[in-house]
Amino acid sequence: MKLRIIIVLIAGAGLMACSSRLKVQSATNREAVSADTRQDSTLSSIIQPYKDSLDKRMNEVIGNSNNDFIVARPSSNLMNWVADAIFVNQTRNVRLAQPLICLLNTGGIRSSIGKGNITLGDIYKIMPFENTVVWVELPVSSIPEIESYLVKSGGEPLANCKLEKGKLVINGMRENTTHIWVLTSDYLMNGGDKMDFFKKKTNFNSTGKLIRDILIEEVKVQGTLSENGELRITN
């Protein structure tokens, strides 16, 4: 299929003594190349050994699970596992001066984990995105916005806190707490999924670490996935 729009304008003649009369043309041309566009064989042969090696790598078993881990709102074992994995990974050997929670997005967990062996490819399926973990500092005044977001969305992965009857119960909160830290993804901090409360951030720290890499690390640490099916969002 070829769609071509050509607009031809005649520029003013004689603008420049030595220039020819010019046509000025712009065209948008979409040459739709069908799904079976031939693959160049030279390039394919460069790719093939890498692809074979990659496929092999993706089939590597990195752990196992005794149950199916699934995504289901308001909270589920896989949502809890992902949030806990990031929380645990980021707080090893860290002393917290302020309360810290982990808040991700349910939509960001793209697959489930079946009972049995877990391959590297399984973790890529769960987290195909190249999102990294960020630490975001928020004033406590933004907590009501987080609460109403969670109520409205029906549930997002949480760690180190619970939403009970629309109120966020955060471990380590004290009366004089002015700010909390939130472990989340760069995608959400930068406006993804309209978590607008992140606009009120007073500080942030990019780790540069891919969420996926953290999940891979934690599967390897755990060996057999530790399951926590508690409801972290309750009415």
Binding site: S20, N29, R30, A35, S44, Y50, Y124
Partner: protein, 301 residues
Amino acid sequence: MKRRTFIKNLTFTTGAIALSRFSFSQKEIKKVNSKLVILHTNDTHSQIEPFPANHSKFPGMGGVAKRQTIIQKIRRQEEHVLLLDSGDIFQGTPYFNTFNGELEMKLMSAMGYDASTMGNHDFDIGLEGFLNAKRFANFPFLCANYDFSETILKDQTQTFKVFEKAGLKIGVFGIGVELSGLVPNEKFGKTKYLDPIETANNIANELKSQRCDLIICLSHLGYEYADPLKISDRILAKQTENINLILGGHSHTFLDKPTIETNKKGNRVLINQVGWAGINLGRIDIDLERGLFVSKFVEIK
């Protein structure tokens, strides 16, 4: 015998579509060799293979082996082709995480890329990681506003390169996005970020003084932002002189046709960007005989 070809993207007439105008000395046109075809990509993000057939947005689309088929077809039809990339070659599929950019560089070299600039994701495995991958590249990286002089990338990139194609002198340079906040500090180390507008102006003026007929900026600034003060390609175009064409990246913008801006001198600047992941191959044809400036892009489905 001295070739004198003038490209002056000057006044523009009226109408809904704003355009660049190239003018040539009438006498010299006959000597000029037909057509220059500029092919370009941006934000290919390690999309080596096509997207899977069940992909929600781009089923079966993209993939470098298909891109190469199209490039080869164009190379058979056209004598003078310039193939450029505007950065973010890295990050997006396990190919990158597994092979650290080696395959991307090999494939771009095999496709015959003439030059690329660096995007923020090209810093994702640090300067050393980039340098290791770059060993597999046979084309230069053009970075005018990253000062690498105190890093291991010292002398590994160029600010600009002048190509001679179709009887034209074509100056190409690269402008990158500010890394602080986008890339963890330890990844870019002692790289100094230079003001993109000021640098672009200086380099474009330098290229002009070297009698370049066409000046192309490979930009990874992003097309435009809600924040009117955030530097983007549209601002770059407006606040500089002497750039004819900005091939952009970073914002993953799918432009149906190039945008035309007016620069500081009142001349027209063309901006193009073709989405991401190698879904499209950007194409801008400059018909030298008739003074036509034709843009198109090829969708890789």
